[in-house]
C-alpha cells in the first residue's frame, strides 16, 4: 500500500467517515472551550448540536451497501452507518438527559461532555472496525473515558468504588482481548476480519480456537454476560444515572456490533454458536433471577441489562443472517427502553444525594404526582418485559425467531420463561409508582422529591423514547432496516 494511492483515496475515506471526524473535532473544541470558560451552560448544547448533525450525516447512508474505508480498517455505509447512527443517537439522548441532571447535582463540568464525545468516537471505531487492532483502539478509547465517567461523583465513595472496579476489571478483560488478538494473528497471519475465514486452515487448530475464545471472553466482559458480569451492578449503581443509561446502551451497542462483525467473518461453526447459546442461557436466567431480589432501582436495572444482553446473545447464537440483524435491531429497541428508564430515574433522584441508594419503596405514588414519569415509565417497563404492542416485543421476536429457525427451541423456551420472571420485577416498579399507598412520613418524602417541574429537555426525551417504542411496536416493517445488512449465509453482503 503505497503512500500515493493512500492520498488519492483519503478524500473519499474522510467523506465516508465524516461523522467520526466531526465528533473528534467537536471533542477537541469542547476541551478548549471548557478550559477558557469553565461550566459554560451553552457547551452541552453545542455538544448536543454536534451529535445531532453527526447523526443526520449517518442516517441517510444506512440504506447504502457496506464497504470499507482507510485501507479496510473500518466499515462504512450500511451496517456501519446503522451502528454509528444508533450510538450517536443514544449519546444525543443521554446528553440531553444529562444537561438538567448534572446541573442540578452540580457535576456539570465541561470535561464530562468532552469525555462523552471521545467515548462516542471510540464506540464508533469499535462498532465499525474491520481490523483487530482498530477494534482494540476503539475499545480502549471508549473504556478509558467510561472509567472516568463512572467515578464522576468524587465525593461519593460508591462512585469511587464504581470507577476503580470498572477500571480493574476492564483492564483484566483487555488482557484477554489482547491475548486473543495475538493468538488469532498467529493462527491466521491477518488482522483483517474479512480475511480470517479464508486464512483458517484445517478447521483452525488450537491456536485459532484459543484466540477466538479469548476474544469472545473480552467481548462478553464488555456486554456484561454472565459469568463476566460482576462489575456491572456496582458500576451502574455508582455512576451518575444519566451516564449509566449512556454506558448501558451506547457502549453495549458498540460492543455487540463489533462482536457481530467478528462473527459474520469467521467460519460458521457449531462450537462457538453452542458456547454462545450456553452463555446466553446462563445470562438470561441469572440476570433475571438476580434482578428479582434487588430493592435498589439502579441495581435492578443493571441486572435487567445483563438479562437483555442474554436475549441478544440468543440471536447471535443462531449464527444466521436473521440472527445477526435481529441482534442489531434488538439493540435499537433496547437503547430506547433503557435510556428512557434511566431518564425517569434520573429525575426522581432530584435531590442529587439519594441517587445511589434510592430504594424502590421510597417512590410510592410517584405516578399520581408526576403522571408523565408514571406513564412513560409504564411503557418502558412493559416494553422491557416484552409486551406487545410495544417495541420490546418485536425486539424479542427479532432475536428469538432466528434461534427457533436454527433449531434451538430449548433456548427460546428458557428465554421466554426468564422473561416471564422479569415481569415480576418490572411490574413491581409500576406497582410502586401507581398502586402503593405511602405512609405519611414516606409520603412527605415523596412529596418533597416530586416538588419540582420535570425539565423540558428530559420530558422531551422521555416522550420521544416512549412514542418511538409504540411506533416500532406497531410497525414491524422497521425490522427491514437491519435485515438487509447480511446475506443469507450470515456473512456481510459485500463479501464474495
Amino acid at each position: 500500500m503505497d503512500l500515493a494511492s493512500a492520498y488519492d483515496s483519503m478524500g473519499a475515506d474522510l467523506a465516508s467517515s465524516l461523522s467520526l471526524v466531526l465528533l473528534s473535532l467537536g471533542a477537541l473544541v469542547a476541551v478548549v472551550w471548557d478550559a477558557f470558560r469553565p461550566r459554560d451552560r451553552s457547551l452541552p448544547w453545542f455538544v448536543a448540536l454536534i451529535l445531532a448533525i453527526a447523526a443526520a450525516i449517518d442516517l441517510p447512508s444506512i440504506g447504502h451497501d457496506t464497504t470499507t474505508a482507510f485501507y479496510g480498517l473500518i466499515h462504512v455505509g450500511g451496517v456501519a452507518s446503522f451502528v454509528k447512527a444508533l450510538v450517536i443517537g443514544a449519546t444525543l439522548l443521554s446528553v440531553v438527559l444529562s444537561i438538567p441532571y448534572l446541573e442540578r447535582t452540580r457535576h456539570n463540568i465541561g470535561e464530562v461532555y468532552a469525555l462523552i464525545l471521545f467515548a462516542t468516537v471510540g464506540m464508533i471505531v469499535l462498532g465499525t472496525a474491520n481490523n483487530l487492532i482498530a477494534i482494540f483502539v476503539g475499545l480502549e478509547t471508549m473504556s478509558i473515558c467510561l472509567y472516568v465517567m463512572a467515578g464522576l461523583i468524587r465525593e461519593d465513595e460508591g462512585g469511587n468504588e464504581s470507577a476503580l472496579k470498572y477500571f480493574i476489571l476492564g483492564a483484566f478483560s483487555t488482557g484477554f482481548f489482547l491475548y486473543g488478538i495475538a493468538l488469532l494473528y498467529g493462527a491466521t497471519g491477518t488482522m483483517y476480519l474479512n480475511e480470517i475465514a479464508s486464512a483458517v486452515r484445517n478447521g483452525g487448530g488450537v491456536m485459532f480456537w484459543g484466540g477466538l475464545s479469548l476474544l469472545l471472553i473480552g467481548f462478553l466482559f464488555k456486554v456484561s454476560a454472565v459469568p463476566f458480569h460482576m462489575w456491572t451492578p456496582d458500576v451502574y449503581q455508582g455512576a451518575p444515572t444519566t451516564l449509566t443509561g449512556y454506558m448501558s446502551t451506547a457502549s453495549k451497542t458498540a460492543a455487540f456490533a463489533s462482536l457481530v462483525l467478528v462473527l459474520v467473518n469467521i467460519v460458521p461453526d457449531v462450537r462457538w454458536s453452542d458456547a454462545l447459546a450456553v452463555i446466553a442461557a446462563i445470562t438470561m436466567v441469572a440476570g433475571n433471577l438476580l434482578a428479582l431480589v434487588q430493592s435498589n432501582v439502579k441495581r435492578m436495572l443493571a441486572y435487567s441489562s445483563i438479562a437483555h444482553a442474554g436475549y441478544v446473545l440468543v440471536g447471535l447464537s443462531a449464527g444466521s443472517a436473521a440472527g445477526y440483524s435481529g441482534a442489531l435491531y434488538y439493540m435499537l429497541i433496547y437503547t430506547l427502553m433503557n435510556i428512557g428508564a434511566f431518564g425517569v430515574m434520573s429525575v426522581l433522584e432530584w435531590d442529587g444525594v439519594t441517587g445511589r441508594n434510592q430504594s424502590l419503596d421510597s417512590l410510592a405514588g410517584v405516578g399520581y404526582r408526576k403522571p408523565l414519569l408514571g406513564v412513560t415509565m409504564g411503557l418502558f417497563m412493559f416494553s422491557l418485559t416484552g409486551f406487545p404492542p410495544l417495541g420490546g416485543f418485536l425486539g424479542k421476536y427479532a432475536v428469538f425467531a432466528p434461534a427457533i429457525e436454527s433449531g434451538r427451541t430449548w433456548l427460546v423456551i428458557l428465554g421466554l420463561l426468564a422473561s416471564a420472571a422479569s415481569a415480576y420485577y418490572y411490574l413491581r416498579v409500576l406497582y410502586v409508582f401507581w398502586m402503593k399507598k405511602a405512609d405519611d412520613t414516606a409520603d412527605a418524602a415523596v412529596a418533597a422529591r416530586t416538588s419540582f417541574v420535570v425539565p423540558a429537555p428530559t420530558a422531551a426525551v422521555l416522550v420521544a423514547c416512549a412514542i418511538a417504542l409504540l411506533l416500532l411496536g406497531v410497525y414491524p416493517a422497521a425490522m427491514d432496516i437491519t435485515s438487509s445488512f447480511f446475506s443469507d449465509g450470515g456473512s456481510l453482503a459485500f463479501l464474495p
Binding site: 399520581y368 428469538f400 415481569a423 411490574l427 409500576l430 406497582y431
Partner: protein, 532 residues
C-alpha cells in the same frame, strides 16, 4: 346496511374512545365518551352481525375480512374476520362494553380517566383476540388484554388487590410466553412445508399444514397450557378467585364475561385443528381435569361466606363444562361448548353486576351481612333470582341449552364418553343449583334482621338499563336456542371435519413412515455425516 372495514372498526373504535378520554378533563365528559364509544361499537357490531351469513362455510376464508401484510419480510398479517365460531363472542364483548361502563358510573370514584381508558383498551384487546386469523396477531391482542387488567385490578381493586393483580399477570404470562415459543416453532415449520419457506402464522396456512405426529404432543401442550390457565382449568385456577374478588365490578364482569372465553376459544380455534392427533390422544386427560373442575368448583363454591368468591368459583365449575364439550369431538358437544361460552358470559356477568350493586349499597360481600333483602329491594332480587336460575341451568333459560348439549354430546363421545365421568359431570348441574340457591336464600330471603338492609334502595334507572338487556337475552337464548345454534353450526362442523381428516392423514403418514423405518434411519445417518 353494510359498512366497509366493519370488523376493524368494531375492534378499534373503543381504542379511539380511549385516546379521546385521555385528552378530556371533566369526569362527566370522560364517562359519557366511554359510554358513547362502547354503545357505538355495539351498534356497529349489530351491523356486523347483519352482514354475517351463517350459511357460508369458513373453510377457505372468514367473512367481513380485513387484511394486509403486517411484517414485511415474513408472512405475518393483520388478518381479522368473522365466522361462526367468533361471531357470538364478538357480540357478547360489544354488548358488555356499555354495560361495564354503566356499572362503573358511580362505583369508580378516583382516577376516573385512567379507568375508562383502560377498560376501553381492554375491549379492543378482547375483540381483537376473537377476530384474529393470524396467530401472531392473536398473540398480540391476547397480551394486550393483560396490561389494562393488571391496572384495573391493581388500582381500583379491593384489599388484596396487588397480590391478585400480580398473580393474574404472572400466571397468564408464563402460559402465553410458552405459547409464543410454540407459535414461532410452528410458523417456521409450516412455512417450510406449505408456504415456500417463508415463516407464516396465517390461520389457514397453519391449518393446511399437518404437524408431524412426533411434534404434536409438546406443541399441543404449550398451546393448551396457555389456554388452560386462562380458562382456567383445574389445577391452574387459583388465580381466578383472587382476581375476581379483588377486581372492581366492571373488571369482574369483563373477566368472567369475556376474558375467560379467550381460553376456551383458543382451545377450539387453535389446539384442536392444529394438533388433532395429540388433542384426541389427551382428550381424556382434559375431560377428567374438566370434570374435576366442575365438581371441585361447585363444592368450593358451596362453602364460601363471600358471595363474590362463590360466583368466582362457580366460573371454574361452569367452564369445566365448556372444556368437556370441546374435547368430546362431536358436533352436539362442540356447539354446546360454543353456546355455553356466551351463556356463561351473560349469566355470570349479570351475577357479578348485581353483587356489585349490593356492594355499592352496603360495602360488604359477606352473605351473613345480608338476609331477607328481597323485601327491601324486590326488583334487584328479581333479577338476581332470574340470573341464578339461568346460571344453574333451569330449562327454558339459556344455561340449560349449553349444558344439556355438552352432556349429551360428551356421553356419546368416543373420546371422553366414559359413563362414570359423565355421570360425575352431571352432578355439577345439581350442585350448581344447590350452591346458587343457597346463596339466594341467605342473601335475599329469610328474616330481614338488619336496619341497614331495611333501608337499601332498589334499582335506579341506570342499573335497570344495564341489567335488563342481559336478562332479556338469557330468556331469548333459552327460549329460541336454535337461532343462535344456527349461527355457529357451519363453523363447528367444518372444524370437526377438519380435525378428523387431518388426524387420519397424520396417522396415515406416521404409519407409512414406520414401514419405511429402515430407509429413514440410513437417510438420517447420511445426513449427519454430510453435516460434519
Amino acid at each position: 346496511m353494510s359498512v366497509s372495514h366493519v370488523t376493524s372498526l368494531v375492534i378499534f373504535l373503543p381504542l379511539l374512545g380511549a385516546v379521546v378520554t385521555l385528552l378530556l378533563r371533566s369526569d362527566a365528559a370522560i364517562k359519557w365518551t366511554a359510554l358513547v364509544s362502547t354503545t357505538a361499537t355495539f351498534l356497529l357490531s349489530i351491523v356486523l352481525f347483519s352482514g354475517f351469513d351463517s350459511s357460508i362455510s369458513t373453510a377457505t376464508a372468514p367473512q367481513l375480512v380485513d387484511q394486509f401484510r403486517w411484517f414485511s419480510s415474513v408472512d405475518v398479517k393483520y388478518f381479522v374476520g368473522i365466522d361462526g365460531l367468533n361471531v357470538l363472542l364478538v357480540l357478547l364483548t360489544t354488548l358488555l362494553g356499555p354495560i361495564v361502563v354503566l356499572s362503573s358510573w358511580n362505583y369508580i370514584s378516583h382516577s376516573i380517566r385512567g379507568y375508562y381508558a383502560l377498560i376501553l383498551i381492554l375491549q379492543t384487546g378482547v375483540t381483537g383476540v376473537f377476530c384474529s386469523f393470524d396467530v401472531i396477531l392473536f398473540y398480540v391482542f391476547f397480551e394486550l388484554t393483560l396490561i389494562p387488567m393488571y391496572f384495573v385490578i391493581g388500582i381500583w381493586g379491593g384489599e388484596n388487590r396487588i397480590y391478585a393483580a400480580v398473580k393474574f399477570v404472572l400466571y397468564t404470562l408464563v402460559g402465553s410466553l410458552l405459547l409464543l415459543a410454540a407459535i414461532l416453532y410452528l410458523g417456521y415449520h409450516a412455512g417450510d412445508a406449505v408456504n415456500a419457506g417463508v415463516f407464516t402464522t396465517d390461520w389457514y396456512k397453519l391449518l393446511a399444514y399437518g404437524v408431524p405426529v412426533g411434534a404434536q404432543g409438546w406443541l399441543f401442550f404449550l398451546f393448551a397450557l396457555a389456554f388452560a390457565i386462562k380458562v382456567p382449568l383445574f389445577p391452574f385456577h387459583t388465580w381466578l378467585p383472587d382476581a375476581h374478588v379483588q377486581a372492581p365490578t366492571g373488571g369482574s364482569v369483563i373477566l368472567a364475561g369475556v376474558l375467560l372465553k379467550m381460553g376456551t376459544y383458543g382451545l377450539v380455534r387453535f389446539c384442536l385443528p392444529f394438533f388433532p392427533v395429540a388433542a384426541q390422544e389427551y382428550a381424556m386427560l382434559f375431560g377428567v381435569l374438566a370434570v374435576i373442575g366442575i365438581v371441585y368448583g361447585a363444592l368450593v363454591s358451596r362453602v364460601q361466606p363471600d358471595a363474590k368468591k362463590l360466583v368466582a368459583y362457580s366460573s371454574v365449575s361452569h367452564l369445566g363444562f365448556v372444556v368437556l364439550g370441546i374435547f368430546a369431538f362431536n358436533s352436539e358437544a362442540m356447539q354446546g361448548a360454543v353456546i355455553q361460552m356466551v351463556n356463561h358470559g351473560l349469566s355470570t356477568g349479570a351475577l357479578f353486576l348485581i353483587l356489585g350493586m349490593l356492594y355499592e349499597r352496603r360495602h360488604t360481600r359477606l352473605m351473613s351481612d345480608y338476609g331477607g333483602i328481597a323485601r327491601s329491594v324486590p326488583v334487584l332480587s328479581f333479577f338476581m333470582v332470574f340470573s341464578v336460575l339461568a346460571s344453574a341451568g333451569l330449562p327454558g333459560l339459556n344455561g340449560f341449552v349449553g349444558e344439556f348439549l355438552i352432556l349429551i354430546g360428551a356421553f356419546k363421545s368416543s373420546a371422553v364418553g366414559h359413563p362414570l365421568l359423565i355421570g360425575i359431570a352431571t352432578t355439577g348441574v345439581i350442585l350448581a343449583a344447590v350452591y346458587l340457591l343457597w346463596m339466594v336464600y341467605r342473601v335475599f330471603f329469610g328474616p330481614l334482621t338488619r336496619d341497614e338492609n331495611r333501608e337499601m334502595k332498589d334499582l335506579n334507572l341506570r342499573e335497570l338499563v344495564l341489567i335488563a338487556p342481559l336478562a332479556v337475552l338469557m330468556f331469548v337464548m333459552g327460549f329460541a336456542p336454535n337461532y343462535f345454534l344456527k349461527q355457529t353450526e357451519p363453523a363447528t362442523t367444518f372444524l370437526l371435519e377438519t380435525v378428523s381428516a387431518k388426524r387420519a392423514a397424520a396417522l396415515d403418514a406416521e404409519e407409512k413412515k414406520m414401514v419405511r423405518g429402515e430407509d429413514d434411519n440410513s437417510e438420517s445417518l447420511s445426513e449427519t455425516v454430510s453435516l460434519d
